[in-house]
Amino acid sequence: MKNQTEKSSFEGLSPAEIQEINAEISEYEDKMAVSTEALKIIQKHRRWVSDECLVAVAELLELSPAHLEGVATFDNLIYRQPVGKTVIHYCNSVTCWMLGSDQVRERLCRHLDVELGEMSADGEYTILPIVCLGACDHAPVVMVGDELRLDITEDAVNEILGR
């Protein structure tokens, strides 16, 4: 897959990442409990979690890499391969499906000339499916980065992609 050719020159976790992860630990009985939050902190800084990052986070939390990988690959919102600057999640659960999520997916992928999970050529976007976003009365819906967008029409897709 073309997304996996990117090799990072990994120089360890940054002081900011380590500090943010450590700050979470005080809220729980042990370090393991911050597994997901630590991976999310990595993604905030690097967009995705590389093998090297995963091992470094495991070491910081005194966990086996296998344990952390078990969490990382289980979670829908942890990316184990590079993604674009903005990830667009389109809801493909039942109400959105009934009201046109297939067309939303087709339009997004066609406009960006990507398959699901790929990064657009300019590195700006990745399109991924997501389960019900809890806005079924405004189906179909998408989440652009952190922002929920409702009642998605063809025009809305164009506007989201800025073209």
């Binding site: 966990l63 289980f74 829908n76 942890i78 659960s93 009934m98 389960v131 806005a135 079924c136 189906a139």
Partner: protein, 433 residues
Amino acid sequence: MDKWDKPLTKNIRSERAFATLTDYRKTGGYQGMRKAITELRPKEVQQWVKDAGLRGRGGAGFSTGLKWSLVPMGYNGATDAHQTRYLVANADEMEPGAFKDRLLLEQDPHQLLEGMIIAAYAIQANIAYIFMRGEYHLAAKRVENALQEARTEGYLGKHILQSDFNLEIYLHTSAGRYICGEETALINALEGKRANPRAKPPFTVVSGLWGKPTVVNNVETLCNVPHILQNGVEWYRGLGRGSDTGTKLFGASGRLKYPGLWELPMGTPIREIIEEHAGGMRDGYKLRGLLPGGASTGFLLPEHLDVLMDYDAVAKAGSRLGTGTMIILDDKTCPVRMLLNIEEFFAQESCGWCTPCRDGLPWTVTLLRDIIAGRGRIEDLDTLAGLTRMLGPGNTFCALAPGAMEPLQGALKFFREDFEQYIPGKLAAGGED
């Protein structure tokens, strides 16, 4: 109608605005907490909520007060200060078709916090978590902000209202998977483990988070609690129209004129929700069926429109109230394709821990895909019916697979001709595809 008819949403004015701390206090906010902590003992609070008849709004419908009363509290009801207990608010709303908790989290976050403070006091928990799905970014921002305000006001922290009660609430945002909403899987996720469910017993009220007694309550459930304390048990019991008490957020989505979410008395008839509140079907569409409480509840038909939306009445009609947010099947949507979408969701979201679910759900999907592609045989319908039994209650670790089978079970019965029209040699004249 007096102003208390809609306790849960009385501060919510529009889809855009949200209730600030000032707004929340203006309508009596944090008075229920004051009453509980300064006037009642923990066991009395449990009893109030039990007497009010509040049942879990996450789908299972278990008595909230009863759940609290199962937490070990020490001898003779005296609380043991050395025993750690936890409260968790389940804000992992991910049932397809459900969109009720997001509203409460985004638009009146203090209501949840007050409910949590009262619940934590009732079970004498000193630490509580809000387990929120990662996609609810706006909700996370507003809840985090409300937590800061509550700390500043002294509603959280040490010696709340000059009492001996201490409480800290932390927001934990997840990174996904439907199974995290199952309470034992949620606890594993909160501990930083893969979110597989745990064997029950032991039940979480005895051994939950890090092996300590833990109560997991749905967001909407907790949001009911302040109003019970503030206005009393009798008032709360009087809100329901059927055998259940209180109000409920009811939603409807699909090809309706005005899909939406409304706070209505528990026991409001389905017809009233669809026809009055949602404005009926869009022009050119007819109602063919509905899943009353999200994707994991069984089909009801137009003949069930007069069924009351409460736990017992919907169960009697052969389905479940679930989340109370209904998905409408119209006459131009193929029920078999709708089922395929639903079963694809459950197959994808299965954690893979137990065999019936891990293997049975993909098998269900394969059969439905084959049928739709015209490669099905009439015996496949028997195989699907067999799967609804094999993946049913009692054969799996948790309720995911049994829930996935609920819509399939009814569809095989009610929409058999829709399945048959795809089977070669069974094609009805004029059938499409």
